[in-house]
Symmetry: C2
DNA sequence: ACAAAAGTGTTCTCGGTACACCCATGC
DNA sequence: GCATGGGTGTACCGAGAACACTTTTGT
């Protein structure tokens, strides 16, 4: 038996990855066709992965379900960042019909709760979906998306940037072991400006939760970089220890 | 004609005020009674102001509507900060019946989008509601609330604290004209620790959006304090001007 | 030996912190 | 004149910013 779906609440996930150079996002290609007035209307575009929620399902769980179905990854960083509720956010007849067909329920207005996920690209194994093909796209190349998904993406990027400056989430996008340069590249890609390498190293090497490993890069045609890992336990400990200070009041 | 209500989505508002000494929150007293198995069950408690949303109503608008109905205040600071979606968050029969009676619709599971508002206490004129009496309460005195509202309040406080450290929202809680000491009291009340007065003054007086006024306090039995106001336009300008720097990466 | 990226140190400036006394007013 | 809270300055320290050359590896 199919569990009942709530026809007015959905989740949409902005799934970010990092390929060493650019910030990437996972999108689904899909095509809607509608027969209206004897003519067949076809529209092709891309959308963010998402799903209506089940009755009796917590929203976080729905977001995680969407993520697992798509990437095969469980236990990844997932953060709720917004609610999109414009009554006209799904405004075309063929879009509504496509959703009704996909879920087998009558829908009208849908409020969506949005999440962004941070995944290690190399670990993700993209699963085929009934909606359409799933692919990674460079964020900077994306021009338009279906529904109000472009709008959602823009908001996700804003929140991601803020988050990156205040919490150690960069490590969720990198492989377990990484070089300082890779970390810097990630910051530069997301923040959109260059950072002085010496100052960056000085700053991050002082962090108590960045652990140097014995291993080095191999088979590279230059001096091999030292590898590091993120020690989550050390981070949690440090956060608890640190007291709030005046220092923390910063308005810009 | 009553506009149709969406029975599965609501907003709840945590309305904060500051009385010069303590952080306050606006709560509604309400009583549910239910006749079950011949017995009358009565429960009295307090709840956050909230409302089911209307179909065709944006969530932000619903939150604002709730706020206006209650305080008579429009155009106050209002910020969405969470979504509470545990399918069992409204778990008692009398709570469900009370909601159904209040809105005249059949409800089962409700997902709530939560907002916090910052208001100037002296400007608010509490409106009587059909739900029950509305009153300001000191945040630190609150022991328990109906539904999962205590949980919501705790989350609101966390977000408020973070916000206070990163954005100039303190001024939303103070009167238009205020003294540095009042501002400091507000920070101390919310952050929960004492701040050195000389250092605090030095810090805030350097802010380009804090404008000194000619007026001073009057009729106080001590040296009258200078008054200041928050210049929003100057703040916006400053934010645009300031560039992101490495400086901004702070993990604790 | 050369190409390519890793890694390293110093000086300057600014902002945070700790800390104790005089000032203006009402009564 | 005294009680009350407002308002002020200095010395120390740590972190960010600017800036250019040497090191290690593969080919």
């Amino acid at each position: 038996m199919i569990p009942p779906v709530n026809p007015s609440i959905s989740v949409d996930c902005v799934i970010f990855g990092f390929d060493g150079k650019d910030l990437m996002v996972l999108l689904i290609d899909f095509t809607r066709s509608q027969t209206a007035e004897g003519k067949i209307v076809e529209k092709s575009s891309r959308k963010l992965p998402g799903s209506l929620i089940l009755e009796n399902e917590e929203i976080d769980v729905a977001a995680n379900r969407t993520l697992v179905e798509l990437t095969g990854l469980n236990q990844v960083y997932l953060r709720q960042f917004g609610v999109f509720s414009d009554p006209r956010r799904i405004n075309s007849e063929e879009d509504l019909q496509w959703i009704e067909k996909a879920y087998g329920v009558k829908v009208s207005r849908i409020v969506t709760i949005t999440y962004y996920a941070l995944v290690k690209i190399d670990k993700s194994i993209l699963q085929p979906t009934s909606e359409g093909e799933v692919q990674w796209h460079r964020v900077q190349d994306i021009r338009s998306l279906a529904f109000d998904h472009k709008h959602i993406l823009v908001k996700a990027l804003e929140v991601l940037t803020q988050q990156l400056l205040n919490e150690p989430i960069a490590f969720e996008l990198l492989q377990k072991r990484f070089s300082i340069r890779q970390l810097q590249n990630l910051y530069e890609a997301i923040l959109g400006f260059e950072i002085d390498n010496r100052n960056f190293r000085k700053k991050v090497l002082k962090l108590p939760f960045l652990k140097q490993l014995e291993e080095k890069e191999k088979e590279v045609a230059h001096k091999p970089a030292r590898l590091y890992k993120f020690d989550k336990a050390a981070y949690e400990k440090e956060v608890k220890r640190s007291r709030l200070q005046l220092n923390f009041i910063r308005f810009f």
